[in-house]
Symmetry: C2
Subunit: 333 residues, 2 copies
């Protein structure tokens, strides 16, 4: 009752040719006489032969599979990147092994190792923090690795991103231009490079450019959840802030709803601008103004870059920076 598997050998026998020839027609090698090709193809069809990708992988040392490490699929931002990655991967006939890392360094290292054991041809890493241990593992890998929507302070790997510093600076400048003097900076954990090394830098730059002084009390470090944002309202008010830049959309939705629920008018009394321009920004009321990022494209371009790396094609630039924008909706004046 166990389903029988048809091998390349069966096809060869039935078609009265060698395995090598069958392999050639399966792989589209042109060195096969049309008549032979036809004969083989017929047998393949008749026997319903399907090449075994595992055997293929072992023999050719290519698995046409790439590993993708994602903090959490449930997060709109990363899910959007993942979608871009998968589409391009499919276009180039690669499959994706997807694993959630929860931004947990230990798990990341472990996952990376199993991906390498599975002989993936390449890896795309998403995550806000590249620990030294992780960097070491990266170096050990013989499969190329590219970072998508994720920064590594040391730029040890190819990556595709937007210019976070400039984007945040522009967003904050916008708030300043509206007359806000006390602008809160709300972000996830500060030990993540993206927060302390990029976003905060942009924030400070905007302040400095406008001649405003930096105040610790306006920095709110929390985690990336709706609830956390919602709970921030009293603190925000106490600090006298009249606007906030927020590093994550779900968090921002929380901040905004927290304010609104406490009868603080957004944007009248308090302006909010967020970072990722996910669908979410359109669903909440007021709709949120946001830095816009080409989410899907970040993933797509990362994957495209990876395909080049896997084929040893020349790439002009290892670090690609995609354009960002600013979308004014109703959470700012």
């Amino acid at each position: 009752m166990e389903k029988q598997t048809v091998t390349i050998y069966d096809v060869a026998r039935e078609a009265a040719v060698s395995m090598a020839t069958v392999s050639r027609v399966v792989n589209g090698n042109p060195n096969v006489k049309p008549a032979t090709r036809k004969k083989v193809l017929e047998v393949i069809d008749r026997l319903d032969y399907r090449p075994n990708a595992v055997a293929r992988g072992l023999a050719s040392k290519k698995t046409t599979t790439v590993g993708v490490i994602i903090p959490d699929v449930t997060n709109e931002y990363f899910a959007s990147l993942a979608r871009g990655i998968d589409d391009i991967a499919m276009m180039y006939k690669y499959n994706i092994i997807l694993t959630n890392s929860d931004e947990n360094g230990g798990k990341e290292v472990q996952v990376l190792n199993t991906l390498m054991a599975k002989q993936v041809d390449g890896i795309i890493f998403m995550g806000n923090q590249v620990t030294p241990e992780l960097r070491d593992e990266f170096k050990r890998s013989k499969a190329p690795i590219v970072l998508a929507g994720s920064v590594d302070a040391e730029k040890s790997q190819p990556s595709v991103n937007i210019d976070y510093v400039a984007a945040v600076a522009e967003a904050v400048k916008n708030l300043i231009d509206h007359g806000n003097q006390k602008i809160a900076f709300v972000s996830g954990p500060m030990d993540e490079a993206i927060n302390h090394d990029y976003r905060l830098k942009g924030y400070k730059k905007a302040l400095k450019d406008a001649g405003l002084s930096y105040d610790d009390k306006l920095i709110f470090e929390t985690d990336y959840t709706y609830k956390a944002g919602q709970a921030l309202e009293p603190a925000l008010m106490a600090a006298g802030a009249t606007a906030a830049f927020v590093g994550d959309d779900e968090l921002a939705a929380g901040v905004m709803n927290g304010l609104t629920d406490a009868n603080v008018d957004v944007p009248g009394e308090f302006e909010v601008i967020t970072s990722n321009d996910t669908k979410l920004t359109e669903l909440v009321r007021p709709k949120m103004s946001s830095i816009t990022q080409p989410l899907y494209d970040i993933g797509a371009v990362a994957m495209r870059l990876l395909t080049k790396l896997m084929n040893n094609e020349a790439v002009d630039e290892n670090t690609v920076i995609l354009p960002y924008g600013l979308m004014k909706r109703s959470s700012t004046k």
Copy 2:
């Protein structure tokens, strides 16, 4: 410069034992003298040997990889299931090959085939429609397949779901109990079994139980997008509906915001209840009442069921039904 790979053979030579023995210690086979085991382990460590999963897969005919077919990772509902799937998979040492199908029958069949070519040990399918072609492919598979959060009218495969008919009936009854006589049924494509065979059935049941008559004009078939929902407002009003059951959260958010933007008070003048209880329900204002589903668990249980199937363990019930609930928030009275 190409990184050298250490094979089981290298380890065997260095440790002065046979490959078989190395294989045994790597696989935790007890038939190895402790002294030998220790010796081998040391060499493994020294050489930094990592077993090649592809070779392993070929020899053992097990890849410890399962395929997951998902309509779109970007969809909160399915992403939540996927998260449950991945967690349990990881717990049982499986990896996930994830592919987006866009609910496109052709793509689904194709994807299924490449998964089978990759010799996955099992498959989890998510999608609202199991076409006959797909069902045929399922039958052809030697890897077990389970449906997660997805129905097949013919129950041809193991699956885990909630009782959609009862859930929808209860939700609609709730609306009826609030005095609504004209309740709209808003769903995605009606050719999907989940809509015409389950949700609609539940809707009709509730109507019938309450002695209300069914009216075609209150059925709104559209696609699962925010925009589509938003655009529905005029039609809803024209039909004289005073409440709606909606089959998808994003769609529901659209419906609700469309109403609100047209100055229809929700829930005062119009009640809305949705289906999936994703995070989204809490982000919009008013918060949406919803059928609650154990999203993560549906994925988790499906994966757990699959592990049993893959190990040929006995399973008492192929079709598992998880409990649902009703969460009253502010979009209903």
